[in-house]
Symmetry: C2
Subunit: 235 residues, 2 copies
């Protein structure tokens, strides 16, 4: 936690918050603060600043908050991700949140195991928790939006063209002849398939709405490595 | 497992291997092969080819092997990594192996917790297992070398200059003013600190032997995301 996320409900007066639970534990165990120490804080979906420790008890810490700056610029990307297996989903949500992705669609695909859709990690509170952990890691405050689409074809045909808009649509495909471009400087819509990949029919559907298939080289990466590698290279 | 790693000890005749255990389970459960099916195989530290299923029983599968090509080119990078916490270590070893890193030094640093050095995941067989999983993921056969150095300063002063040689030495530092360069096309020696970062004294020591400090932007990434992001951007 490189930044302590604050919520409107934390405020006990105009500039003062009272924090307990997980964040208190982290502040005590990792930051090991005492009275007068300063921590980086940020209001969820708001500004970033400094929280000065005013009072620390076993139950709560009071911080005096002053805001100083805006959160970092979002990464200009929309991520279309075939639902990974649950444990990977958690880590990927945290990672993409940390990297500054603000628009995420979790979609179905032929090689997504049906059971994955039953995972409690897809519940709104569980998703939100991982996203917030990513924000705290990266010192950001702007919560990403995560949408779920369980029907691939109608999503691609009816909704995806509108999502693409004026961005460059790119699908990661280890079999593609074209190498993933470097730092295009343009907004991207990035589609990433499941372990085992998108099937040719799914790739074809994406190409038909304007996607270009790109590869990171002859090595096939796991989704957890592929996503940071793609984002870092494309943007 | 996109490639089945073979060992010299698997060979029961010149072109035939007999496989059991974890690999058999994967071949049966995931690839769901039957007689005559073909799988991608590669000899550890050797060539890549096709294994045709000759006989499948509950105990073993026999494959007829023919080699076709060399493994992919290694990534031209030496990774100097502050020892991460054990669970992260396992995943990072697999990831960097999958990405084609062949030279890895796990080093101590001020913010590496001492207890991390006791983890069983640092044992030679445990390290090797993760490296092999990475190779199987990426369809590679060349096992990376992993060296452990528990004393940072003598490592940097006495050994690191020789490791750097004619490569470009780069240390990831979220506080650096310089942005991480893109696809330099040159061999790199990349140093990555622990969670919480290298301390200024450690950064100074690296600068004194020629390193440049670079940042991936104002977001501070977890080591598991930072490494693929750095490798993908630098190389």
């Amino acid at each position: 936690m490189n930044l302590i996320l604050l919520f409107e409900t934390d405020f006990i007066s105009k500039n003062k918050v009272r924090i307990s639970g997980r964040r208190l534990k982290h502040i005590v165990d990792v930051h090991r603060v005492s009275d007068g120490d300063e921590l980086e804080v940020g209001l969820l979906n708001g500004r970033i600043g400094i929280g000065r420790v005013e009072e620390l008890t076993d139950e709560a810490v009071d911080l005096d908050v002053r805001y100083e700056r805006e959160p970092p610029t979002p990464l200009p990307v929309t991520l279309i991700l075939a639902l990974p297996r649950p444990k990977v989903l958690r880590r990927v949500l945290k990672t993409v949140s940390a990297m500054g992705v603000k628009n995420i669609y979790l979609v179905n695909a032929q090689r997504v195991e049906k059971s994955y859709w039953q995972t409690p990690f897809l519940r709104e509170d569980a998703v939100r928790e991982q996203l917030m952990l990513g924000l705290e890691q990266a010192r950001d405050t702007m919560l990403p939006s995560v949408e779920v689409r369980q029907r691939f074809r109608p999503f691609v045909e009816d909704e995806l063209p509108g999502i693409i808009g004026s961005t460059i649509p790119v699908v990661a495909d280890p079999a593609a002849a074209k190498q993933c471009p470097v730092a295009s400087g343009q907004a991207i819509t990035l589609a990433v398939g499941p372990e085992g990949g998108l099937i040719p029919y799914e790739i074809e559907m994406l190409l038909s709405v304007g996607f270009t298939a790109v590869s990171l080289g002859e090595r096939v990466l796991h989704v957890e490595a592929a996503i940071p590698a793609l984002l870092s290279r494309l943007l």
